[in-house]
């Protein structure tokens, strides 16, 4: 299944919002995982799980937490779902 970058962005923001218990509308792609979101690898598991479910790809946790910003993650995911 093909996804547009906008769809991937929406799915990622929804997953991150669910993981950190925050309204996805308050998130933006330029946010940094650690500095802006205080993101922990514990929460990364939930994001990976939701991405796998929605995008039908297996996203390695290690690859996700290496991305500096949410946009970097969108770019990585776009490459994976092509």
């Amino acid at each position: 299944m093909a996804f547009t970058n906008e769809e991937i962005t929406d799915i990622l923001l929804e997953a991150v919002g669910k993981a950190i218990k925050r309204d996805p509308a308050t998130l933006s792609p330029d946010m940094r995982w650690v500095e802006d979101l205080n993101f922990k690898s514990v929460q990364g598991m939930k994001v990976c799980g939701l991405l796998n479910y929605k995008l039908k790809v297996t996203v390695p946790l290690s690859a996700l937490i290496e991305c500096a910003t949410l946009q970097d993650a969108v770019d990585m995911l776009a490459g994976m779902v092509e």
Binding site: V42, M45, K46, C48, L51, N52, Y53, T58, P60, S62
Partner: protein, 356 residues
Amino acid sequence: MASDFYQYDDRRDPKWGLPGDVRENWNNPTIATFFADIMTPGLSQDEIDMGRAMFEGAFESMLSGMTMPPELEAAGEWAEYWAPGCVEEPDAPELRLHVRLPKGEGEGRRPCIMYYFAAGMGGKPDYFDTEIAQYSADLGAVVIAPQYRAHPEVKQPAQLNDLHAAYQWAIDHADELNIDPDCIVLSGYSIGAMMALGLAFRLKKYGITPRGLSIVAPPVDDMANGPSSRISFASENLGCEERVITWHSFFGAINVARPAVPPEIVPNHCTVDDLRGFPPVFMHIMESDPNRDEDIEFCSKLLAAGVMTGMHLWPGTNHATFYSGPMYGLKAKFYAEVENDIKTLIENDCRRPWSA
């Protein structure tokens, strides 16, 4: 969930961990972070399905890129079988058995290890293939891992019935698989360990004593009596909050904290007399685990009943220390000890029928 007046013993700070590798990996991601997404009372089926998909997706993510060493993969073969329901639930749906068969003829009948995976609200035993294959290769054992039914949709005793069915299937197919039906060891972690104890109680009713149990950090009581039952990780690891919702999910709110629920469902509801003639038990207990005090109490009852009992309390550890994060020295030591426990049970008949 626990109320605001509940007195938590917050152990998120890594200072609680053994200095070194354990402390550095104190807050690694664990499956307990998904408990609330699947087990919180009142969730709709759609919400449960979503939570379970996230949980299973996370497992797939963690396992992606991890490959089994070729020599270990080559040491055995995977097989899949289906078992009918046990005598207490003959109409149960067929049970999937994930089986590892060691290669080579060996000498005589093979020992059998029942492997019960943890959590039980989703997933499959295949996630633990490396551990299963290692036991099989090192001990020349047939390992049977039943994919018991998931809660919260299906509650106890359905899961116990599934384990009973798998045990009966192993005995019925002993010739086909070259298994010694008198050398079946029950093993498991967390809820898997709890159900191993439950199955030993169930089988006792039928006059069957398994060779022994090798279990890790089982929850065994729902009464929350000991100080360890207040340990919390604020839902980032297994703490008291996760235990509470697990009880509700696993055997239903109406059955929680009711002493009349039998020990085959809640093991520490037993008396010392109930444990006479129980199979030998090797149990590993973690210091910052809400299950700690009840595990110690259960082992004390086993000892009072004259059952051969091994108890190893690991200082500076939590429920998930040995089941999350990278491999390091102490984890390798832990896995070696667990395997050695199983080896001891296989090579020696430690049952004490005269104590019954």
